[in-house]
């Protein structure tokens, strides 16, 4: 039983960190209708940037803030240079464009900053936190709490004046144009915010498992999170993240010994498949009604 609770708690914390990686995906899909398969690479890029700024001698907090500013700018740039030309193109074009960007970043960033794993030290320490006989990974605990905070902040953000504009744009592009909102600026802004979310995910995951190209493989659990939670719902990111994290921790915890390892990928795949089979728009997603 203690083993189960341990898996449950640590899985939930990891799931919150997955949710943070998935947040950028949802933000962009919500406002622009673009599936951003480069979100994993953005997370990796953010982690490398923060590591580099830190290695220049900046304190870690300043490095994170500067990294967030840089990634915000990078998100705006990507939207302006690449995605704006893709408006009205079929989904395969957008999917492949973001995948191409993912491949490009996966080559460029380790190529420039060095492929060997780096470490970001947040000063968390390694000793596990023990609450009522349950061992919790300290990095996961801090990471999960920070992720919860950031997701909550982004939920609150959508209640501000700017956030209301973003919601309006995500509802209906043409109607937003008609009342004088700049749709382009809103979509660009959502890319920028996705860049900032990538910094959060990149720093947390980078401090847990080191900074190298494997951070971009976070894309796969992030996809499971958004598919399960609903591809355009921030509430869904939270719930989906918890579900993917817990299932991806508890089931391998019992099955790995029999199935020969790495059942986590299987759990993630099955979550994606079952969701698409049973309820394609996810738990909280908005169901698209197709018209001929």
């Amino acid at each position: 039983m203690a083993y189960f609770i341990e898996l449950l708690v640590n899985g939930a914390l990891v799931g919150l960190m997955y949710a943070l990686a998935a947040l950028g995906f949802v933000l962009i899909y919500k406002s622009a209708g673009v599936p951003n398969l480069a979100q994993g690479a953005l997370v990796m890029m953010a982690a490398f940037l923060v590591w580099y700024l830190g290695s220049l001698g900046l304190p870690i907090w300043i490095a994170i803030l500067a990294g967030a500013a840089l990634m915000f700018g990078f998100g705006l740039l990507v939207e302006r240079l690449l995605l704006r030309r893709m408006v009205g193109q079929p989904v395969i074009m957008v999917v492949m464009l973001t995948l191409g960007m993912e491949i490009l970043l996966r080559g460029l960033i380790p190529g420039v900053f060095g492929a060997s794993p780096k470490s970001i030290d947040l000063g968390i320490g390694l000793a596990p936190v023990i609450v009522a006989d349950v061992f919790m990974n300290r990095a996961y605990l801090i990471g999960g709490l920070v992720a919860l905070l950031l997701i909550g902040a982004s939920m609150l953000f959508f209640r501000t004046r700017l956030g209301t504009k973003l919601r309006a744009v995500s509802d209906d592009h043409v109607a937003s144009w008609a009342v004088g909102l700049s749709v382009e600026r809103a979509i660009g802004l959502s890319w920028g915010i996705a860049g900032i979310a990538a910094v959060g995910a990149g720093v947390l995951w980078g401090s847990v498992q080191g900074v190298d190209w494997t951070l971009s493989t976070l894309l796969f659990p992030a996809i499971a999170v958004v598919i399960l939670g609903g591809i355009d719902s921030i509430k869904g990111v939270l719930v989906g993240g918890l579900a993917v994290g817990i299932l991806g921790s508890v089931i391998p915890g019992y099955l790995d010994a029999y199935a020969g390892g790495s059942t986590r990928d299987v759990v993630t795949s099955v979550i994606i498949l079952l969701t698409i089979l049973v309820r394609p728009h996810g738990i909280f997603g908005r169901e698209d009604i197709e018209r001929i």
Binding site: P35, L82, R85, M86, Q89, V91, I92, M93, V95, M96, L97, L99, G100, M101, E102, I103, L104, L105, R106, G107, L108, P110, G111, V112, G114, A115, F220, I223, I227, I231, A259, G260, G261, S262, T263, D265, V266, T268, S269, V270, I272, L273, I276, L277, P280, E290, I292
Partner: protein, 357 residues
């Protein structure tokens, strides 16, 4: 001028429906076929084995995927898994003593059955969700292959292909393997060229453009989509088997990973969706251009033109590959086939700017 249209008149239905009505096109195809046949005599074993052979096999694989994505409009991001199923089952059949020809067919059929099951699972959805569903299947198949020792020959193990012969000719030399690959690619090409003018091909085009509308005019979307998945999976499975037998010689699960699926989609897109010449050009481009450019830059760096770190050089192929995908999508979304078509159209009416009327 170069593509002379004078004298091309159709006096019967077969003449109007022939594949290459213009004489210049027939000449080009003939010359290319001759060059392909004589390639073992013309180029050295190094180029034949490491460039021409993989190019041919990947072309066949790209054409299989193009059948599904280009003609049928069904996105598939797990095609490497289908190829893996074909490769593994044909190797196991051949090791069990089944003749190579039937092992290839068996590999194709297994891939068709499992690929159709995937297609059926994905039939409820389209577009982005189909991408995600096929992507999840890719991971599932990968995991099954590497975690069932009976299939992969043990985790982290490689499975060697046995010695086989094709139509009583032993496939032991590079030339023999090249000709097997050539035969399959030519078969695939002919099939692709002809499927476009069958009722199945037209049904696929109708489904691609709008499946509800196709249902209204009497095309069963369910059956057509399933048949498309089955046909493409069969072709992909055989291509995977040929890839294993004729090129790799030994297979590991990593050779059919998620990145390979993306590479296949990139080949189809860079070449041009649903185009035969695009399949050839796209496969060649995606396979060769990153290598050639990297060698060029490494060579220039070694010659002292500029200094480039070892680490960056190692990552250059990925950078060029990703950059190539982005570049094509932004500047020529219809791919290399469209560029070829533009050139051909220019020479069709040369020396004039455009045809009259």
């Amino acid at each position: 001028m170069f593509y002379r249209l004078s004298g091309v008149r159709h006096t019967s239905y077969p003449a109007a429906r022939q594949l290459w009505p213009i004489a210049a096109d027939r000449w080009q195809v003939g010359v290319l076929a001759l060059l392909a046949l004589l390639a073992p005599l013309l180029i050295s074993d190094l180029y034949l084995g490491s460039y021409a052979l993989p190019w041919l096999i990947w072309t066949a694989a790209a054409l299989s995927l193009s059948l599904l994505m280009g003609l049928g409009g069904q996105l598939h991001f797990g095609f490497a898994a289908v190829m893996a199923i074909g490769a593994y089952s044909s190797i196991h059949l051949a090791r069990g003593g089944v003749p190579f020809e039937f092992a290839l067919l068996g590999g194709g059929l297994t891939a068709a059955v499992i690929g159709t099951a995937f297609g059926a699972a994905a039939l409820r959805v389209k577009g982005l969700y189909l991408v995600m569903a096929t992507l999840a299947m890719q991971y599932l198949v990968d995991w099954v292959i590497s975690n069932v020792p009976a299939i992969s020959g043990g985790a982290q193990a490689t499975l060697r292909t046995p010695e086989v012969s094709f139509l009583w000719i032993p496939i032991d030399s590079l030339d023999a393997r090249y000709y097997v690959a050539l035969l399959w690619t030519v078969l695939m090409t002919l099939f692709f060229l002809n499927v476009k003018r069958t009722s199945f091909g037209r049904a696929l085009a109708a489904i691609r453009d709008k499946d509800f509308a196709a249902a209204v005019i009497g095309v069963d979307p369910f059956r057509t989509k399933l048949t498309a998945f089955m046909t493409a999976s069969f072709a992909g499975g055989v291509s995977g088997a040929i890839l294993a037998f004729c090129y790799y010689g030994a297979v590991t699960p990593e050779q059919f990973g998620f990145n390979v699926s993306i590479q296949l989609v990139a080949m189809v897109l860079v070449g041009g969706l649903g185009s035969v010449i695009g399949g050839y050009l796209g496969a060649g481009f995606v396979l060769l251009v990153p290598i050639v450019l990297t060698n060029l830059i490494a060579g220039l760096g070694a010659a002292g033109w500029f200094s480039i770190s070892q680490n960056l050089t190692a990552h250059l192929p990925l950078i060029f590959y990703g950059g190539m995908i982005i570049g094509f999508l932004l500047f020529e979304p219809l791919g290399l086939a469209k560029i070829y078509d533009n050139i051909r159209k220019y020479f069709l009416v040369w020396p004039f700017r455009h045809s009259g009327s």
